[in-house]
Each structure stands twice: as C-alpha cells, then as structure tokens.
Amino acid sequence: MILYILWLRQIKRYLRSKSRIVGSLGQPILFLVALGFGFGPIYAKAGGGDYLQFLAPGIIAMSILFTAIFAGIEVIWDKQFGFLKETLVAPVSRTKIMIGRTLGGATVATIQGLIVFIITLFIGFRPVSILMAVFSFVIMFLIAMLFTALGTAIASRLEDMQGFQLISNFLVMPIFFLSGALFPVDSLPKGIEVVVRIDPLSYGVDALRGALSNTAHFGLGLDLIVLVSFVVIITIIGAWQFSKIEI
C-alpha cells in the first residue's frame, strides 16, 4: 500500500505535467530525424545496413535515461519544497520510501520510452518480432530502474539544483554518448571500447537492439545479467544514501 501510494504520486505528477511530457519528446524526435536521415546514407554506404533500425533502440534508451535520472533528481525538489520531510517523519522505513518513489519514477521513464518507441514506428522503424518487442518493455523498465535509482542516490547527497549541470555534463551525457546508442561498438579504438564496456547503458542499448533489431553485440543473455546486477546494486546504494538524508 505504501509502495503503491508513493508510486501513484510519481505517476500523477507526471500525468499532470503535460508540457513536460511533450517537451521531453522534442529531443528524441530531433535525434531520430536529424541523425537517422542525416547519417543513414553514409551508414548504408559503409555496409551497415539501415541506420534507423540501428539507431531507434539507442534513442529509446536515451529518452529513458534522461527521464529516469530526472525522476531520481526530483528528490532535490522534494527537499527544497518540503514534501520530503513529510515522508521522512512518517513511520515507514526509508528503504520503502526510496523503493516506492523509484518504482514510480521508473514507470514514468518506461512510459516515456514506450512513447518514443511508438514514434520510431511512425518514422519507419520495424521491430523484427512482436513477441520480442513486448519483451523489450521489460528491458526498458530495467534501464529505467537503474537510472532512477542512480539519480536518487546522487540527489540524496545534494542540497540544491546547483549541482545539476555538473551531473548532466559529466555523468548523464557521457553515459549516453559512450553507450553505443549512436554508433556500432564492434570496431572501436581500444580506449573507447573499454569505456563503452564499463558504461551500464551500453548493455541496455544492446539488449534493446537484441530484442528489437536482433543485432545484439554483447548478447542478450549477458546484457540482462549485467542490467539486473546493476539495478540491484544501484538500488541498494540508492536506498542507503536515501536513508542517510538529514534535513
């Protein structure tokens, strides 16, 4: 019941901020159109095939990443606008509070991913199998959980939004650009390849690509193991950081 109410709160806040929903679709659409059609011909000439088939899962992962981190970072807003205090003095374990709101944030990010997925269909993306497309929703949720928990862990340690720019430029952007969302990871320079392999989003992008385009580089099995492990570890760290909040 507690998990449900905290989950519901995140969902309601999301559904009420229509401008946020629409606003956050601008970027993925721009990326799909500009990169998809811009690089498409070169990609095909280089023997890569249909670039949109390659790019779409990466852009879906991108929108989940951004929405999820943002949902986690919302803890700072709650600190500043006070609602966090209301939950922290309630006779509920802080782990429950953290998990409830993380599930809510992750659901929101997954919905955002689904909307982008539907948009890619309109632009011309074709998943290879319907069954696997449905399975990709699970992968989307795992990516969403991972980064909502990460956002929560970071936000638990910050006082205000001043650190947000720092996180965005030195954490979120590198996670996205070095995940192989935009380029194939099979013939990269060694240094970059190492970074790509450390980046948890790489496995999310790869899993989506495996499920939607049947072109996983690391293999869907490994992707899922890595994703689930990251979700568990980061959620534990997030819950621990959250439980230490003093206001």
């Binding site: 709160r9 006070g82 206001i247």
Partner: protein, 268 residues
Amino acid sequence: MTEIFSPTIIEVKNLVKRFKKVEAVKDISFSVAKGESFAFLGPNGAGKTTTIRMLTTLLDPTSGSVILNGFNVDKNPSDTRRSFGIVFQDPSLDTELTAYENMYIHAVLYAIPKDIYTKRIEELMTMVELWDRRDDLVKNFSGGMKRRLEIARGLLHHPKVLFLDEPTLGLDPQTRNLMWNYIKDLREKEGLTVFFTTHYMEEADRNADRIAIIDHGVIVAQGKSEDLKKQTNTETLEDAFLALTGKDIRETTGSDGGNMMKMWHGRR
C-alpha cells in the same frame, strides 16, 4: 496540572547539536509529561527548530539523548515516528497534488484505517474550510490556505505527541482559535501531548501548561507562565520573555515559507 505525578513522555538529556562551526544547541535538558502542553519559546535562531528536528528523527544529535514515548529517538526512529505528528514551520505539501490527495497520502503513510480517515479527512478539511476546495491543486492555494491544510494534515493521525513548529504563523485569529480548540478537544479525549513553538506570547500563555525559554542554544528558564513572570518580576509573558532574552534583534532569518534549505543550514 499535576505534572509531577504524570509519567514523562518526552525526556531530553544533555542534548547537543554542533554544525560545522556553530553549536546550535548546547547541552539542554528538559522533560514533558504525558498530556501536557509544552511551549518552547525563543528568539529567531535560538535553537528551537534544530531541537524539534532532533526530537523528530530528522537530525542526529551530536551528543545527548532523547526518549519519546519510551523510545530512544536515535536508536529506534521507526517506533518514535509512529508516536508523533508534526506541523512543520516551512511548507511540506506536495503542491502538484490536490488538497485531498495530500491528506490521503498522509493517511496511508500512517496506516490509518479507511473508515476512520474518510471521516476524519472530511471533518478536518471542513474545520479549516478547505473541504470545498479539496480537489484543487495545492499550487493554486494562497499561503494561508496551505498553512491550514498542513495543520489539518498534522492532526489527521491523532498522534501521542504533536509537534507544532510555529503553526499559527500567518493564520487569522479565527483559524488559530479553531485549531487550538480542536487540539484542546484531542487532549481531553485522547491525552494528546503538545509541544509547540510560537512567537505569539499570548498564544503560549493561553495554551501552554509549561513554558521553556531557549536562547543561544541554552534553556534560560522553564516553568509555568506565572513562575516566569514572578521570576523576572514582570506583568506579562512578553515582558518576562524580553527580560530573559534581552532586547537586541537576532540576525538570523525569519521563518515564513519559501526556500528554507539554505537558511536551515545557516540557522542556529
């Protein structure tokens, strides 16, 4: 009041809170009896809110101990949290939700049975005259309406101890009266203990059995209102307060609304 014979519900011993440089609370001790109404007065920045934050598990003390309703606040935060309710000094509503949703979340967080909270939410929201506005988003409320909603919410789960940190700031006398009458009723019916801070001396005089005055992190006097007046040879509680805490204005910020985070961390 027969506080000597009543069991103690809040026991604070040698409580200290040190932030990086400032010692906000310097070794204070006091106790509050079950059913008592206890006012905690002091100038801005005296350490009132810091003390309340320690008593309500939001802040770990540097040293000293707090026993609330038989539970060690530091070691057993969960049972402590079940025992008290609080109306914060600064806003703690979710402004993106409706007034009713804010009440409802509180009811669920405190595990109030459905038949009780349905009745109580209506009763309390009617009392603060927000029942007609229950489905409006809180962000469209005025400051006074938000305050009233916070008070209604703080009373929702009928706690053993109710903390009120300057609850009536910015409230009109009508609402202030209604609030104190509701609390009086709860004290009679359920033996509620009230711990409150205020800058309105006549409010403390009227609603507190006992008063403690804190200044610069130290309790400078405590007792009944008459005791404080006698002790300082003054006619009113306000004069007693001024005699005990001096007349110079404190530099720390006031306590109304807005973004409190930075102030909190600078506050003593």
